[in-house]
Amino acid sequence: MPGKDVKIVGFLCNWCAYAGADMAGMARMEQPAGMRIIRVPCSGRVDPLLVLKAFQEGADGVLVSGCHPGDCHYGSGNYLARRRLELLGRMLPALGIEPERFHYTWVSASEGARWAEIVNTFTEAIKDVDEGS
């Protein structure tokens, strides 16, 4: 089973990404078991410090996902989020964290398949980093 040892924290917005993950479940799309989802109301709620704290506490990867740009339930949350998170992602190499371990992406409530695919790909990418390839 893939992803057994990879611990990933996912911060998912309630309206889109979390619902998308639910959708993947309703469609019984098998996924690696290392993902631990923390529900937040909006990707704009995700303080970059939560991501850094996750790494500090030993996460192998952190994924943030919210509504597609333009679709934010609150209008602008994901616009703010992507600014903060893009900066964070670019800072990671200087902080000594492989940038592959962090990913932010947009998943709508109907994109169950996309969510499953993201979890799979991201888990694999982290495993590649862990193996040093």
């Binding site: 639910d22 078991a33 631990r36 109301p41 506490e57 339930h73 709508s108 409530a109």
Partner: protein, 651 residues
């Protein structure tokens, strides 16, 4: 003291997650006084078990590991309330959609479930009781779309004494149903049953009708949406126009006839159709000579009522509404791009069923005589092709249009009734006739009306000797079939109405992957959209027939009435709050707040701190993430709660 309940959800969860083991693990977690696995936690006995445990073990915090909180969070909050606890002292753990359903290995899924329960146990220690407030709700509803769904919803809402504004994009209400000839399975005349309702709308005291109008901007939230409605300029004063149609008659500029699905021409200034409500003309500037450099002013000169006003401009009307019903209906799939072997729309006698509907209709361009477009001849052999742009993966259209089988059967019957010596051939994939009396209706088309049903897809349509050859496979006989037809009618699939996506964005609601507006829950909240106070009626939520549309419109109306009849709404307590003793007064929160919900507060000692205007706060938590000293936090999603979760899942 904590109680943990692990739902088996029948076998939905317990098939993959060892719920007993999860309960046993939970029982060992610090502070957990009670842990049990329940077959259906959401059921009455399940909720009763929670209540009993609360009483017996004096529990004050409850963790429920079950399905997605999007499904039953509200259910369990009510259960807590009944058990005498604050409803927010509950945390749900999603071990179904995000665990049992996506993992195969029991050991792994169980381990993950235990992890998730531990996370919730840690989180719930940081929960505090929350109390929602109340806010007045505006007693007025907006219905967007004037088809049968919007009409029904508007009438039903206004019947409860709640004023309604009905907004229709086109010049007349009536929508797709007004274009239909007869309706299955009863073969009622569509106009005969619809027109009285349209008139009722126009005459209703509590209904404000705005045609040629669209939603421009939406602000606010449930109970108090502030919505700007743009009324497009039609160059005709609706108050003055009598619908005499002299302008239309004399107008020299041709324009497509939208009502007749492009089968004939109309004029730049025209009344949408003879039964239109309101019965007024409107001018389409893009076709008008005057607006394209010409000097023509005929309509203005001829109008006996003096209703034509070329200087009329768009008008934006702002209104407050307590609730919104979206009833934007459906659009027709443009098949020409995806079916090159069907002639890409170049053969005039390959038409869509929507066009055929107009040929059948007495109010149509042919006055109810079936005449094929190419030469006006009466067809003898009519081939119907189902599922064009439906149930077709190769066209990227896997979904069923849900009405194609039925209306094709109807059209075959009507063809026979119009032309008794005609022969209809129906290419189908499966006949889907699930409604009341539907199967009998299809059977009648076959037996009494002699329609020949061929199970199989059509591969090619091409002209041969003045006829159209329809080549397909008869999958039952296993043969290639070739039908020579005079007219081919394609049952093109249904799409979301044009512009529905944009409207959904304005309303802050989601669309599903086929572009239709998404309901909150497919079974339990079928008319609620993702944004509170927005409801869905009819085909905007997915293709459906008239009975289903009318039923859903009624349901949406009932929801609106339920919401607005009390006059006030409970507000969510999950809003931000400022701890003034930690506020640095930097107001970054105010800079990022999308709702202007942050104000300045001057404390007794002169310090200036932020304050949340709770009635404006919608609980996004963006301020929380932007506040450097952590003074502002979102109730229910505080840093403390998220950190507790985070630390626990990584232990």
């Amino acid at each position: 003291m904590l109680g943990v309940f692990i739902c088996q959800c029948g076998t939905n969860i317990s098939a993959t997650v060892d719920t007993g083991a999860v309960a046993a693990a939970a029982a060992g977690m610090r502070g957990v006084a009670h842990a049990e696995s329940i077959q259906y936690t959401c059921s009455d006995p399940g909720q009763a078990a929670i209540g009993a445990a609360v009483r017996e073990k004096r529990l004050d915090r409850i963790v429920i590991a079950a399905c997605s909180p999007r499904m039953h969070e509200a259910t369990f909050r009510r259960a807590l309330e009944r058990a005498g606890l604050n409803p927010y002292m509950m945390e749900m753990v999603n071990i179904r959609e995000q665990c049992s359903w996506i993992h195969a290995d029991t050991g792994e899924a169980t381990m993950k479930a235990v992890d998730l329960v531990r996370k919730a146990v840690a989180r719930i220690r940081a929960h505090v009781p929350l109390q929602g407030g109340k806010t007045a709700a505006v007693r007025r509803a907006l219905v967007i779309g004037g088809g049968i769904a919007g009409i029904r919803a508007a009438l039903d809402i206004s019947a409860a004494g709640i004023p309604v504004t009905l907004v229709e994009k086109s010049p007349s209400i009536g929508g797709n149903m007004a274009r239909l000839d007869k309706t299955f399975p009863t073969l009622d005349c569509s106009s005969c049953i619809l027109t009285p309702l349209m008139v009722e709308i126009k005459q209703h005291d509590h209904i404000e009708l705005m045609t040629n109008a669209e939603v421009d901007d939406v602000r606010g939230l449930v109970g108090d949406f502030q919505i700007d409605i743009r009324r497009r300029s039609t160059c005709v004063d609706e108050e003055k126009c009598t619908g005499c149609m002299i302008c239309q008659e004399k107008c020299p500029a041709p324009a497509p006839d939208d009502f007749n699905a492009g089968l004939c021409q109309s004029k730049a200034i025209s009344v949408a159709f003879p039964q239109a409500v309101p019965l007024v003309a409107s001018l389409r500037k893009q076709y008008c000579r005057r607006f394209n450099g010409g000097k023509c002013r005929l309509c203005q000169k001829l109008c006996p009522a003096g209703a034509v006003d070329y200087g009329q401009e768009d008008e934006v009307v702002s209104r407050s509404f307590g609730a919104v019903v979206a009833a934007t209906g459906y659009g027709h799939y443009d098949w020409t791009g995806s079916y090159p072997t069907f002639g890409k729309g170049l053969y005039p006698d390959v038409i869509t069923s929507a066009q055929y509907e107009r040929l059948l209709s007495a109010s149509g361009p042919t006055g109810g005589l079936i005449r094929r477009p190419s030469d006006g001849a009466e067809p003898r052999q009519v081939a119907f092709v189902s599922c064009v742009g439906s149930r077709d993966e190769s066209a990227g259209r896997p979904q069923c249009c849900s009405v194609g089988c039925m209306y094709t059967a109807k059209q075959a019957i009507l063809t026979k009734e119009h032309i008794p010596d005609s022969q209809s051939y129906i290419f189908y994939i499966d006949m889907r006739a699930g409604g009341k009396n539907y199967e009998e209706f299809v059977r009648r088309a076959q037996t009494r009306y002699g329609a020949i049903f061929i199970r199989g897809r059509v591969g090619r349509i091409f002209p041969r000797r003045g006829k159209l050859v329809v080549m397909g496979t008869d999958t039952l006989a296993g043969d290639q079939v070739e039908i020579e037809a005079d007219l081919v009618v394609l049952a093109a699939g249904l799409t979301a109405a044009p512009g529905a996506g944009e409207l959904a964005r304005k309303l802050n609601i989601a669309c599903d992957e086929t572009g239709f507006m998404a309901e909150e829950h497919p079974k339990l909240r079928p008319v609620e959209a993702a944004a509170a106070g927005v409801f869905l009626a009819g085909a905007c939520q997915g293709p459906k027939d008239i009975p289903a549309t009318v039923a859903q419109a009624g349901a949406a109306a009932a929801k609106v009435i339920g919401l607005l009849s009390r006059g006030e709404l409970e507000t969510s307590p999950m809003v931000s709050a400022v701890n003034p003793s930690r506020c640095a007064g930097c107001f970054k929160c105010r800079d990022v707040c999308p709702f202007g919900a942050i104000d300045k507060d001057r404390l007794a000692d002169g310090l200036v701190t932020a304050r949340v205007i709770e009635s404006l706060c919608r609980g996004c938590g963006i301020c929380n993430a932007a506040c450097p000293p952590g003074a502002i936090s979102l109730n229910g999603y505080t840093d403390k709660q998220l950190l507790a979760e985070l630390v626990e899942v990584l232990r």
